[in-house]
Amino acid sequence: MKEKDEELDNVFRKGLEDPVNDAAYREADWDAMEQMLDKHKKRPAVIYWLPLIGSAAALILIFLGWLFFKSPVVKPEQNGQLVSAQHPAAGGTGSTQSPKDEVKAVTGISGGPTRQSADNDRQKEQTPVNYARSPDVAGRGRKSKSFLSLSPGEGRRDTVTNHQNDMVNKQPVETLAETQQKKTNNKDTIAGQNMVINNTLTNSNKVLPADTPANKQATKSTSPNTEKLAKIVTKPRSTFRPQFALGVMASSDLNGVNSSFQQSKVGGNFGLQFSAALSKKWTVSTGASYDIKPYLTGIGNYHTSYQFATEPVSISANCRMIEIPLNVNYQVYGKRNNKISLGTGLSSYIILREDYNFNYAGQYNQGPAGFSVINKNRNIFSILNLDATYQHQINSKVGLLIQPYLKVPLSNVGESQVRLQTSGVAVGLSWNLNSLTKK
């Protein structure tokens, strides 16, 4: 039987080893093959472009988001400063504080019992103007209850902006008597709340408005629920924390006209850089810097409608401007605490002042000595940035930045419409903003 099986196997082995006719080649099979190759070949290209597309989209979103969130944050800071200015810091937010002190502690404005004075002076001229103007104050001031009563319910708002506005507008008009009575009766409870708040809140003003639902709630409860309080207070902690970093940069650079640094002058700038890591490799950054750009150029590069009686031989200029860059950086090296990244992007110049001095060939001036232009010219996204950044992370929060850069004009800059090119090296420090918000 085994022999028969082997014979059968041999029949098939020999018969199938040598086809009479090979399967004829079909072009359709190769077409399918080619499609398969093309399909997989295109994928890397898509992958290559995805980060760029994503970066561009994220850049726009971050920029818009930054603009959107920036304005509401300013108001409470201003008001906070006003209150603080009226009431110098006093130490301690412990359980032995007066109720008013406790109110202050909840506001998160570090330092002292500012609310006490604020409340006492509420009906005097010292009341901030914006408080008096508030329709909420006028309509509901006396009925407002302590914002320490954090029972959820009426009018709870989720947005930071609303909370902040509520807090700022309504704090001064709380009925002090009611608040004081309640707090006197429940000093221990309130103190405990303060401890909870102080333990759970960061110093960020953005977190504080979580308390503000109580402002709207006219609760007369004398024993606020501590658990609810903690729950409400901690709610904002679950919100998204962007991975931002802030840098302080200063640089010395050379400024020349028409790609020439032969007649360049040394300028400089200093400013803030705001960056967001989109991924391990990609970072977008923006910010603002104050630039001082002196330069010297021949009359040939200078554009003006003024007809000189005697043409000056050269123009000395000194421009002071605010530069707003918008860059994308790609990390090409990153080991241990050292990173090297390449970046590009566009800058906008908001020129604050341009001083021009005309240099004549003769000893005596035959024409105007110069002129100044103040706060007139804008060059939006007209400068191409090329930079390489070396970053050495000193610790988890602070890093050292060294950034050689080149700024190439895409259009003429300033009143004189020169092609002003800048090259220099910036040095600075970066702070990991995310580490500041971590508890």
Binding site: D9, L16, N21, D22, A23, Y25, W30, E34
Partner: protein, 215 residues
Amino acid sequence: MGEEELRQLIGGCIKQDRSSQKMLYKAFYGFSMGICLRYANNREEAAEVMNQGFYKVFTRITTYDTARPFKAWLGKIMMNVSIDYYRANLKMAYTEDLDKAEHVSNGDMPDRKLNYDDLLGMIQKLPNAYRTVFNLFAIEGYSHDEIAGMLDISSGTSKSNLHKARQKLKQMISDADSASNNNTGYSSGMGYSPIVAINKVVDMQSVIFNKNIRG
């Protein structure tokens, strides 16, 4: 195809040169299809599996050791993609009842010489599991232990499937003989024509090309 020409084609494929890839594809089309047809149910499936094999060849051509025969490397890839392609379907066929096949006599081999198309047609009529084991054991020469490892089955299952495959093939041969005896006009391959779609009007240049490679 000479060694030098093959080396040049492989060099072109390493550079992802499309014309080199196509020439290599055409040169080894018949050889590769011959392998895949044995494992496939039909020509279309075989072409699909073969293309997957060539895709591996083109994307992993840099791993090819030029000291070894290219056809052996290519054949191994084709066999592996065939096994991969049908691995998921193998278990479905294990429970097939072969009572009828058990009654086939073991004595008689075909009276006449069966040609390639006849044999391929019979192989393709086997269930996937039997066909795969029969291919690996009878034609490729692997042992049951090796097959068990390749197909992720037990050695006993491999033996069982081989036995059942043989029984089925014997039955098919017997049937073919009967049909041949009953029909004097029987032409070889009539009963078990494989779905190979051999183009009888063969492009002679292509045939010669392939033959050269095979030789």
